[in-house]
Amino acid sequence: MRRFAALFEALDRTSSTSAKRDAMAAYFADAPAVDAAWAVYVLGGGKLKRTATSTELRLALAAETGYADWLIDDSYQHVGDLAETIALMLPGTEDGGDDVPLHVWMEARLPSLARLEPSERIELLREWWRPLPREQVFLVNKLLTGSLRVGVSQRLVVQALAQWADLPTDLIAHRLSGTWKPTADAFLALAGPERADEHAGERPYPFFLASPLEQDIDVLGSVGDWLAEWKWDGIRAQLMRRADGALLWSRGEERLDGRFPEIELAALNLPDGCVLDGEILAWTLDEAHPLPFAALQKRIGKLKPGPKLLADTPVRLMTYDLLELDGQDLRERPLRERRAMLAALVEGHGPTLALSPAVDASTWEALTAVRRESRERRTEGLMLKRLESPYRVGRKRGDWWKWKVDPYTVDAVLLYAQPGHGRRSGLFTDYTFGVWEGDTLVPVAKAYSGLDDAEIGRLDRWIRAHTIDRFGPVRSVEPTHVFELAFEAIQASGRHKAGVAVRFPRILRWRTDLGIRDADKLDDLRRLASG
């Protein structure tokens, strides 16, 4: 663990991606394979089972230090991270202390917690903490609460592995995709020579991700070089047909098996050895447009959907790419060819496996006009894909663009604030905004992002000086400041006080030119939701 803690510190200290990559590559070369495997898993954002609750951690900290609950809470609010708060409040050992290998923590120690009664768990936590240096207390807490964010992307981990193994990054990315199990063998296999049947298993192909189109549309050249499709608002998924059935992977590379039985069933009619890329959408047969994303959310949560849910909220896979056919990897073939093969493949499979239609337009102007229909078609805009492009790995700019419609906007008043986490810990950065209903301001949206550091600092000082009331970490402030918020969609909602729920709200700008009476009314939002 000491070696991993040193790696973590090296990663945490630098903002240079090349320095981070070098540090990881050096660690992979140096650490025992079984520990390195876990490092790959953890740094790459692999799911960790939560083996202790934050309440148990707080209880263990209170028992170990004798500090009052409120003081632990105040400290946590200041630090913004419970694992770190504990590491800072415990006496800690100076240099030295225990050096239990990372894989022992991951495979033996942490899982053993799950089998204990809460009171035993708390005792064991305290025993573990005592001989550990501060930085290891922090890491162990992070690992047992199921989250460790180090400021490295999965892509950077892949690059570091490629550097260490001296192999192409795309190959490493593919080898890591799907449910990669961290073992010494699996780690060493990452560096093995490339085999011809590399892709034949259950691992999904790494997804190709589109970038937002920020420049003018005409810089893309001739409209005839591009395929335009609707940008669907569903779940990106990869459907794999293998000899023994069908597998469905989400873009987060999680298996969706069982959640969408109608798609898996339809996939059985596909020939063995093919892989399709598309979007899962909730869509009833008699409707021209998909159901709102909220309907699909009901399906995501259900591992075994019942007959009523299946009938009310059926799903379909809107397919848009073909990565493999007859066991052959097609990703290097141009989109023009892949798309033709896909059309032939899904032809006659009914609406459950549909082909995402091309949006035809002979000029950019015509396409711009069609794009205005996006909202009424319940889409987020258009996708533009270069017809000659291969299917690439990850987010690579140039061949796939998402051309979203402009977001909705609303002018709303800052009502509540609470401290942020991580880089923003100790600063009031999580805001709740309201709009007018008669003479009262009703909360309608929470937003975290959109202000720059100077604005965050200014607003933080203002919030501290103008707090009216406190509810735990949340402060209510004098209604004074108006912000323009952007959001992607709005729906009627029984679960929200305001009766509407907005999707992806964020701050566009601080409207210092507006007073609170200039903020929007709830009725305006309701109209958008019904429209």
Binding site: S75, M89, E94, H421, S425
Partner: protein, 340 residues
């Protein structure tokens, strides 16, 4: 109530019995100043009482024309119906606690203080009193300072690393107090010359004249144009970060020495490559120890995260209050990001 001896006023903490202000924010007739930091020592007042050990620094801050009365440690002097004396607070060179005796009561205003050893100033002296006014810049138990020995070793390791990589090491820290303390601490382990930002030159000079032993220093501006600073240690105030002045160092590695560096989020937010935990303020154990040492019946807590300290002191059997509960209008205390 103790408000008969000290009252918060918009100008600062006021003693009606002695007709003086402590660390006034605005010009007043008679000022008693604890130490030379800009948020405590402000020019324009008619007359200043300061601790003798800090006179040279006070002259720097208050201007050559200011009327300054300097007093030795523990020397009694009278203002109105009160008797005053200065006692070391261990914060920076010449930093003092003020002991005020009057109306049958003893009040000690700590100013800023720390309990950790510091080769540049006299150590904090616990002064028995009835009322103790304490700072609480770092008033949460997450703040416990590492030993200076460890921090000095970390800083030197970092400079070595920079030398291996062929880049300059720019260490940001406050120009008054922190810079000199680091220069003195580093002198116990190395004798390499440190390059200084212009804002630090005069203050380092004042410390040298006061007899503080520090590493040899040279002004960055004295170096020839185009000098290669690779592997050198450079010290600069935080305001120089991101300024055009930094350009001469190319791809430098940057560090910040401050108590706030204890928290990872604060470290990452500021975007320095390295954070070194060094503070001239008391950490949580230091605050509690000082409250115990002075055996006051009543504790008043100034700026920072005072609320937690007040509540904790009450939980542990002390009579404690936030200073603002004295009533009156205190000026807004400095933001917690600024103290260090």
């Amino acid at each position: 109530m103790d408000s008969d001896l000290l009252l918060p006023r918009p100008e600062g903490l006021y003693c009606p019995a002695g007709d003086f202000f402590i660390d006034p924010m605005q010009p007043v007739a008679r000022a008693v100043v604890t130490h030379a930091h800009g948020d405590h020592a402000r020019s324009g007042s008619g007359l200043y009482h300061v601790a003798a050990a800090g006179t040279l620094l006070m002259r720097e801050r208050l201007g050559a024309d200011s009327v300054i009365h300097a007093h030795d440690w523990s020397e009694r002097f009278t203002l109105g119906d009160t008797s005053l004396s200065f006692h070391p607070s261990g914060h920076i060179l010449g930093a003092a606690q003020v002991r005020i005796e009057g109306r049958g009561k003893v009040v000690v205003v700590s100013g800023d203080y720390k309990r950790d050893p510091d080769p540049t100033c006299a150590p904090f002296e616990p002064v028995p009193c009835d009322v103790f006014v304490t700072e609480s810049t770092f008033g949460l138990p997450i703040y416990r300072w590492p030993s200076m020995r460890t921090v000095v070793a970390d800083i030197l390791d970092w400079v070595d690393e920079c030398r291996d990589r062929g880049v300059p090491a720019v260490l940001f820290c406050y120009a008054l107090g922190k810079a000199q303390r680091l220069l003195a601490e580093l002198a116990t382990r190395t004798d390499r010359t440190v390059h200084l930002h212009g804002a630090m030159l005069r203050l380092v000079e004042v410390y040298r004249n006061a007899g503080v032993h520090m590493l040899p220093t040279v002004a960055v501006s004295e170096s020839a144009r185009g000098k290669d600073f690779a592997g050198e240690l450079i010290m600069a105030p935080p305001s120089a970060a991101g300024s055009p002045w930094m350009r001469r160092f190319g791809k430098a590695s940057t560090g910040f020495a401050s108590g706030w560096m204890q928290v990872r989020g604060a470290r990452r937010r500021r975007g320095y490559d390295r954070g070194f935990v060094v503070s001239d303020h008391a950490d949580w154990p230091g605050l509690l120890r000082s409250v115990d040492d002075c055996r006051a019946k009543r504790i008043y807590v100034t700026h920072g995260d005072g609320e937690a300290l007040v509540r904790h002191l009450r939980d542990t059997g002390h009579e404690a209050f936030p200073l603002r509960s004295l009533g009156g209008a205190m000026p807004e205390s400095r933001s917690s990001e600024e103290g260090d």
